[in-house]
């Protein structure tokens, strides 16, 4: 029974935080060392995955696991793409609108939805994600139907078109830093305390004055907005969206990133995305074996790092401690 060893981290900006920041900065600058466009592309994908998963993490902090996250990424994507392509609005309007619409939808469905807990929530969100996909397919006038929408304009910030992958990378990196900072603030403030209370014991939390429904809904709205925000960037970077893009598999991939990264750790989404997003690239050469190897790695990580990759450093320290 070692389940009881997690601790509420008291915010201390000490040496270790500094070390982490330096490491993070080093990792972030890898694409420049190589100078290869492909590395910038992978870097962008890592940032996008980490951002979307951060949204999922916020929802996980209140003890809920959403399999509808891809649908919210999709909502953001479609919102922004439609605003930009149909109404000719600039991306800088489409981006926040994407986040806003995703958040608004989360707010509307959150109340009835969040009465469900645990696996039921997992399952209903799965159904919702499918529903999103089916509904989008049903209205091709809006969504482009199954053909999707191709030729989405590139990201443009106040007249500056981000045509190069390296530029997009800088932009997504900045967004990721902002999202991570937001997560940090949530977690270390009163809100984080409420989230944790709801996660650990909702009945007690409710009875000691935390409005669990509203708190969960807030987390759901924040998380889904982050998803929508990510979706908008993703759509304009990839340049193509279709309902299939935001299927259940994408939701699952975020869940995998979250759990392997560390479900309750602040750095979980980031660490998970840095590890898992480029992983297929290392395995690509193995072709038909690549998915088998991926599956094995996934199971091994879960098996040997139950706290996720973000728990790795803690586990190592403990190991060292045991030896000495």
């Amino acid at each position: 029974m070692s389940a009881a060893v997690s601790k509420k981290t008291v915010p201390t900006v000490g040496a270790s935080t500094f070390v982490y920041l330096v490491i993070a900065a080093l990792i972030a600058s890898v694409p420049w060392f190589t100078g290869n466009v492909f590395y910038f592309h992978v870097g962008i994908m890592v940032c996008l995955a980490a951002m979307a998963t951060s949204g999922l993490a916020v929802i996980a902090w209140v003890g809920q696991l959403s399999l509808a996250h891809a649908a919210f990424v999709g909502l953001g994507a479609y919102t922004s793409v439609l605003l930009v392509t149909r109404l000719g609005l600039p991306f800088v309007v489409g981006l926040p609108a994407g986040a806003l619409v995703a958040g608004a939808v989360a707010y509307l469905i959150g109340k009835p939805l969040l009465r469900l807990r645990g696996v039921y929530f997992v399952l209903i969100t799965f159904a919702l994600n499918e529903l999103f996909r089916l509904v989008m397919l049903e209205f091709p006038g809006v969504s482009g139907g199954s053909s999707g929408i191709a030729g989405v304009p590139k990201i443009e910030l106040f007249g500056l078109v981000l045509a190069e992958q390296s530029q997009v990378y800088v932009f997504t990196l900045a967004c990721l830093v902002a999202v991570t900072a937001l997560l940090y603030l949530i977690r270390n403030g009163q809100l984080g305390r409420r989230f944790a209370a709801v996660e650990e014991n909702p009945a007690l939390a409710e009875s000691s004055g935390t409005p669990t429904a509203r708190t969960q809904n807030l987390a759901f709205v924040i998380g889904s907005s982050i998803a929508g925000f990510t979706g908008a960037i993703m759509a304009h970077y990839i340049g193509f969206i279709s309902p299939e893009t935001f299927g259940f598999q994408l939701s699952v991939s975020y869940v995998i990133i979250l759990v392997t990264g560390g479900r309750l750790a602040l750095w979980g989404p980031l660490v998970g995305a840095i590890f898992l997003t480029p992983l297929p690239e290392f395995l690509r050469g193995a072709l038909e074996y690549q998915h088998i190897i991926y599956g094995v790695i996934l199971i091994a990580v879960l098996r040997f790092l139950p706290q996720g990759l973000a728990g790795l450093s803690g586990q190592l320290t403990r190991l060292k401690g045991d030896r000495s």
Binding site: F38, H41, V42, G148, I238, S242, T245
Partner: protein, 366 residues
């Protein structure tokens, strides 16, 4: 000797992998041909052709990542792929901008256009084959009404339109059309409804081989005795596997090649012997397509300047492929002549095998 890298961005996992594998192997066999003779001679240089296969899992996002890697990391100038429509649309911004020539299977009409000069499609789509084949069948079998089931995706919807138009032109009517969600395995309710409308024939075009097989089996199960037609997309063997010989007896299918044509039969033989596996019907198109690409490089005298190669490829006339005489067409339909025009056949299924009953070109069948 130098190396010429060709990307094979195809689907190797999930439901599209039948096609993906057929395309990849076509490229490999084509590469083997030139490598065997000491490499591809372009100008004064001999290139050893290396095929770099990547899997896109039939997903747009994956395809974009793989395309980025092929174009920027592996620095390929030629890509065989993608299988799917969504992936090709998703990677075109990268490939077109970087002047990478792609040969896609994607059935979407949008894949080819004047704005996308580096994309070619070396296989006919329903749009090309439907009319002549349907004209022939409608005339020969006296069909008035036809029922059809299509998957509710890009390909299914495009095909439904083309096929419906073709039947109308041929003087029949596609009177009962159903779209269904992928993953569906039970078609009895839909077939019940279609059969209740008293259709003369059921059209299978646009469905994956497995689905087509299930539809055939279930249609026969509920007692449908009319004609079953598969207009486009070679998949007879798979359909027979799923539905059984009994149910498929007398079905009319599209066939990409006539085993009577020697070169085609030889390719199939080589394929099955090399890979110990039955050949996917699209494979020969991509074998020919890759070979045409090689020829274009030789004609252009360069592998680097894809503009020149592209022009050379466009200029290939009456290319003598394993499937017969091949040309580019499609200027009317797509605004650019990057669509392969090849002969094809109508076959009747007898005891699980195809028996050719008519030979067609885009002009008509006999």
């Amino acid at each position: 000797e130098e190396t010429l890298k060709i990307g094979a961005l195809v689907t190797l996992s999930g439901a599209g992998s039948s096609w993906g594998q057929g395309m990849l192997r076509a490229a490999e066999l084509a590469a083997e041909d030139v490598n065997k003779d000491g490499g591809l001679k372009v100008g004064d240089t001999s290139y050893k052709v290396q095929v770099i296969p990547y899997d896109d899992s039939y997903k747009a996002n994956e395809a974009v990542t793989a395309a980025n890697r092929l174009v920027f990391e592996d620095k390929v100038k030629y890509i065989i792929g993608t299988v799917g429509s969504a992936p090709i649309l998703a990677i075109q911004p990268i490939t077109e901008e970087n002047k990478v020539i792609t040969m896609t299977l994607g059935f979407t009409a949008e894949a080819l256009s004047a704005e996308k000069p580096y994309t070619f499609r070396p296989n006919p789509t329903t749009a090309e084959v439907a009319q002549p084949q349907i004209d022939w069948i409608v005339a020969n079998k006296g069909i008035k009404t036809v029922g059809a089931l299509f998957p509710k995706d890009e390909t299914g919807q495009a095909i439904a339109k083309d096929v419906g138009q073709a039947y109308a032109n041929a003087g029949a009517e596609l009177s009962a059309v159903e779209f269904f969600e992928r993953d569906r395995v039970d078609f009895i309710p839909l077939l019940t409804r279609i059969v209740a409308q008293g259709v003369d024939a059921i059209e299978l075009d646009g469905n994956s081989p497995v689905t087509a097989g299930q539809i055939v089996q279930q249609a026969r199960d509920i007692g449908f005795e009319g004609v079953i037609i598969r207009t486009g997309g070679p998949a007879t063997q798979d359909i027979v596997n799923v539905a059984g010989k009994e149910a498929t007896e007398g079905m009319f299918v599209h066939s990409a090649y006539d085993p009577g044509v020697e070169t085609a039969a030889a390719y199939e033989k080589r394929y099955t012997e090399t890979y110990k596996d039955q050949m996917n019907g699209f494979s020969p198109f991509f074998y020919d397509g890759t070979k045409m690409l090689f020829k274009a490089m030789q004609d252009a005298g360069t592998v680097e300047d894809t503009d020149a190669v592209k022009t050379a490829l466009e200029n290939l006339k009456d290319y003598d492929g394993v499937l017969g005489t091949l040309n580019w067409t499609g200027a009317e339909r797509y605004g650019i002549a990057h669509q392969l025009d090849s002969p094809f056949y109508i076959a009747r299924v007898e005891d699980g095998s195809e028996v050719i009953v008519a030979k067609c070109t885009s002009q008509g069948c006999e």
